[in-house]
């Protein structure tokens, strides 16, 4: 489980209400309160790593990038103007980092680190219903991997992470309409790729 509680440098308000992300940012900027950064990490690292993994589909790479994103965000908190929610700003850094990593990977085809399970490997891994579930998960991973990064980002942010399309648009630096059509196109392609798994 995640470390939590004051022993990990968490900052809580006296009333028991959770301090907002923006208040934690202010605490760091004004007083250099390192506990504020630790609390921000505790709150958001799980989501950031999950988001990155859904895009990059490799556990080790997701770990490296999640750490990179947190450090990059903390080192550039000066750039957070408070015009958007802290999470929107943080997720934007995360998705920019992922897109850069995917661009680098595309230019270096040898370093293809996506862990896309193969059916045969999945079949060797277990029996019965568990195998069927694993094969289904493998198919989802392969279908996501086959999507272009921009379509994958739309489906990850809205369908998997449950973000509002308006927030997803800010994170991806495009219009809401663009997010809608990317979602539409991504769902169409995924439904086609997963048609066997989706059959009742």
């Amino acid at each position: 489980m995640w470390p939590s509680g004051p022993s990990h440098g968490l900052t809580r308000s006296g009333s028991g209400l959770e301090t907002s992300d923006e208040q934690l940012v202010a605490a760091w900027r004004q007083a250099g309160d390192r506990g504020a950064l630790d609390e921000l990490a505790v709150r958001h690292l799980t989501t950031v790593r999950r988001m990155i993994h859904s895009m990059i589909l490799n556990d080790a790479a997701a770990d490296d990038l999640a750490q990179d994103v947190l450090l990059r965000a903390f080192r550039s908190l000066d750039g957070f103007q408070g015009r958007s929610k802290f999470t929107t700003w943080l997720y934007r850094i995360a998705m920019n980092t992922v897109h850069d990593a995917l661009d680098r990977r595309r230019r270096s085809p040898i370093d293809d680190r996506a862990e896309v399970p193969r059916d045969a490997a999945m079949r060797d891994a277990g029996v019965g219903a568990e195998v069927e579930r694993d094969e289904c998960d493998g198919a989802v991973g392969r279908a996501l991997h086959a999507l272009p990064p921009k379509l994958r980002a739309a489906i990850v942010l809205v369908a998997i992470e449950g973000l509002d399309p308006a927030a997803a648009a800010v994170i991806e630096g495009c219009t809401r309409a663009t997010i809608y059509w990317r979602l539409h196109e991504a769902r169409k392609r995924l439904a086609h790729a997963l048609r066997e798994q989706m059959e009742p």
Partner: protein, 262 residues
């Protein structure tokens, strides 16, 4: 202007649920919580203090200088905008070909009707550019309303006021279908387009256009809501002494037949 977010269909909701289930199982299998804990520990020991901002209030001279600089910047921006608007005057210098004429609309409606019969209702889009016609078919029948979209790339050099057409594409696309077609005389570019008619009559359009062999190498990604029939500058830029912009006009096809639009 706002639009109602399109809700996923039942099959779309099933798909989303399947994706979330995949995510949950992946997290459990990879011990995502444990991994996040280890990353948090690494972040805690990392040096972030080097960039800790020094918060200092400006002295009076600094404050005054700041206001003076801000005033100058605002004045310069206002002057630039005034000059720029006077130069372009909202499309006064665009060629008439950026608009759809009634004859264009009628011809496209007729072609569409004929092709729909040929492709048994599976026609998703028709794109016409560089003396080429491309057709996209859907997996099943599509009945959504068609939209005609004209995309014109205009260029001008130096201080010239008049814009000249450099490339044009006319597309008829059914609501929420994605046009994906090679563009340019040798097919070296790409046009992707998606349109969706909104309840208030406006149309949401998103496009990605890449052209390599024209006056400027053009790579544009744009999106937004625009009024039917009104040419709209969707994007533009300048490279060396060549300035370019993409003008787009959108018309819902069937209701517009026989009327002058744009």
């Amino acid at each position: 202007m706002t639009r109602d977010p399109p809700q996923p269909s039942r099959s779309g909701a099933d798909l989303d649920a399947r994706l979330r289930e995949w995510r949950r199982r992946r997290d459990a299998a990879a011990d995502a919580a444990g991994r996040a804990s280890r990353i948090a520990a690494a972040v805690r020991t990392a040096d972030v203090a080097a960039s800790h901002p020094v918060v200092a209030g400006p002295d009076r001279w600094g404050e005054r200088t700041g206001w003076f600089a801000a005033g100058l910047a605002v004045a310069a921006a206002v002057a630039c905008v005034a000059w720029w608007r006077g130069r372009d005057d909202e499309g006064a210098n665009w060629p008439p070909s950026v608009r759809f004429a009634a004859a264009d609309i009628a011809a496209r409606a007729e072609v569409l009707a004929g092709m729909e019969q040929t492709f048994a209702g599976r026609l998703a889009w028709v794109a016409e550019h560089d003396q080429t016609v491309a057709v996209g078919l859907a997996d099943g029948g599509v009945a959504a309303a068609p939209v005609a979209v004209r995309i014109v790339v205009l260029t001008r050099r130096g201080a010239a006021a008049r814009w000249e057409p450099a490339w044009q594409a006319d597309v008829v696309v059914r609501d929420e279908q994605v046009v994906d077609v090679a563009a340019g005389a040798r097919g070296e570019g790409r046009l992707k387009l998606w349109a969706h008619c909104l309840p208030d009559g406006a149309i949401a359009v998103d496009g990605e256009l890449t052209l390599a062999s024209h006056a400027v190498p053009l790579r544009a990604s744009y999106g937004g809501v625009q009024k039917a029939g009104l040419p709209c500058r969707v994007t533009g830029d300048r490279a060396a002494d060549v300035e370019w912009q993409v003008i787009q006009t959108v018309v819902p096809l069937r209701p517009a037949i026989g009327k002058e639009v744009g």
